[in-house]
Symmetry: C2
């Protein structure tokens, strides 16, 4: 584990403690995996969060070697998931892809595989949400059943079933399935897990070192039950990752790209970070920002801004690191 | 109470039971209050939901007369709220405006005054969210306190305080403060009440006929705790209004305008309507659609589409009406 060199923070010039700061490769999208690893190392960061696309480009074993040679740790791998298919072929494909992701995480030396679980069938149908209306006969025949393509309860039940399917394989490979609640703005099309409490309920049947959760400020900041659920996640030892970025307005045309640097939006990082600290979390803090403007900025400048904002808004509210 | 004449529904031509369907004037934005009342009456609808801007244009007593003369009921008045100010002047202004809204509701003969409670102070600051960063000295001085402009916990506490302030006045006027949980996409800038459970917690200290909640499918459809909270709302006799419209994608540039006709998006109306029915709700069902395309459509055509979609997606899942 590399403690990392101090990074000067404008304007005070005081060195930042980045010993728990991890650069997620999605933040520096224009960089290859090697460039991101080198950039993180140059800035003194001890860890990177990897996306599977960058790993695939580099080749799995080569990616593992690049990270190890740089002396960094892999805080998490993004992402498994998309578990909501209702048909046999779709289920089989999802299980196969997620088993591959589990092997990739193990090979990269990370315990934490983040899962974005997928949306409603209606959102993945050809033509998006514009499904044909059921005929009156269909509706009457099904009454009072829900339209299966929009049946959120059944879709969530399938996610629970797929997690159960994958748990033994994950446990064999010492990889944790890390459930990510996504902001409810993504409930239709990306993730039917919408709250931390729901993620913990889904994790509950399984051991804490096989199914965990991620606390991503962008997705959970609004939740009136957040303090209680973070405490619960800590007590259950399921917090696998703490990810930070800000909720900015107006939303980008694609809300997926509407994340900002910490301090640019509405998230109360002091409070949420203190809750995560009080819950006993001592792991890495990943910064994962999807934002076209950030992506258009030179990588080193992005990393410097990330480190400065982390030092200002997040790090002061973490527990003192074991290194002192 | 007018039961309403049947409306022919294409393509089957079967008459629709619209005896509980209420047209919210926000759906036919181009219409004056009189035009909306006339349009609802022409379509056989028994009720309208009114916005205060349309009432103000018509004049309060004239508005009450127009609705009464048409034999319609007012299912709700929108809206009070915006209770999150932290300064004395802002608090006084909010209380004054809400007392006026309570008087308006009583004058219009509706028991239900819908409250949209307002967002974070950071979102109403000049320049929107682009507040200046606190200086390092400020931050250190406040540590570990949150930035007050982004302190969601404190903002929510102020909402509870303002509700308590308004309850006696509302009770005197036989008007119910109806708390509306808004979709979390609006948590920063429009409403810090984000779930039905949170709304019920805020209502809990007060009698059910003075503080209630609205179930608006657009805002709550994603909630994994929805079935339980609707049942709780029914058991506590706090469901003051059931509002229906759809969650459509992609989001409009202004997410406020991203609502659709029932059936055009992702909401499972059958399931949610059955939960509301099981909770014992027997009141009006309001259709409130903010959508530029709908607003650009002739009002009578909008009302016909609303009635048709209601008949197809909502009405079959309601309890049989007392009339038969």
């Amino acid at each position: 584990m590399s403690a990392g060199a101090p990074v000067p923070i404008a304007p005070q010039g005081a060195p930042a403690d980045v010993s728990r700061l991890s650069l997620n490769t999605a933040t520096t999208k224009a960089w290859t995996l090697r460039e991101a690893v080198d950039g993180a190392a140059r800035a003194g960061l001890p860890a990177v969060g990897l996306w599977r696309d960058r790993v695939a480009e580099a080749g799995l074993r080569e990616a593992a070697r690049i990270v190890a040679d740089a002396g960094l740790r892999v805080s998490s791998l993004c992402r498994g998931g998309f578990l909501t298919a209702a048909d046999d072929a779709g289920i089989a494909a999802a299980l196969q892809d997620n088993r591959a992701a589990i092997v990739e995480a193990a090979t990269l030396g990370t315990h934490e595989l983040v899962f974005v679980v997928g949306g409603l069938p209606a959102a993945s149908a050809p033509g998006g949400g514009a499904l044909p209306y059921p005929s009156r006969a269909d509706r009457t025949a099904r009454h009072p059943l829900a339209d299966p393509a929009r049946d959120l309860v059944a879709t969530r039940r399938r996610v629970a079933d797929r997690i159960a399917d994958l748990v033994p394989f994950a446990a064999e490979h010492d990889v944790r399935i890390v459930l990510e609640p996504l902001h409810p703005v993504f409930a239709a099309d990306r993730a039917v897990i919408s709250t931390l409490g729901q993620a913990l309920d889904l994790a509950a049947p399984f051991p804490a070192d096989v199914v965990g959760v991620v606390v991503d400020t962008y997705h959970v900041w609004w939740d009136p039950d957040l303090e209680r659920q973070i405490a619960r996640a800590g007590a259950e030892r399921r917090i696998a990752s703490y990810q930070v970025c800000d909720w900015i307005l107006p939303l980008a045309a694609d809300p997926l790209l509407s994340r900002g640097y910490m301090g640019d939006g509405y998230v109360d990082f002091a409070t949420i970070t203190r809750w995560v600290t009080a819950a006993g979390y001592l792991g890495d803090v990943e910064v994962e920002i999807f934002n076209q403007e950030v992506w258009d900025t030179p990588g080193d400048q992005v990393v410097a801004t990330v480190a400065a904002r982390y030092a200002r808004h997040v790090q002061p509210h973490l527990a003192p690191s074991p290194q002192g």
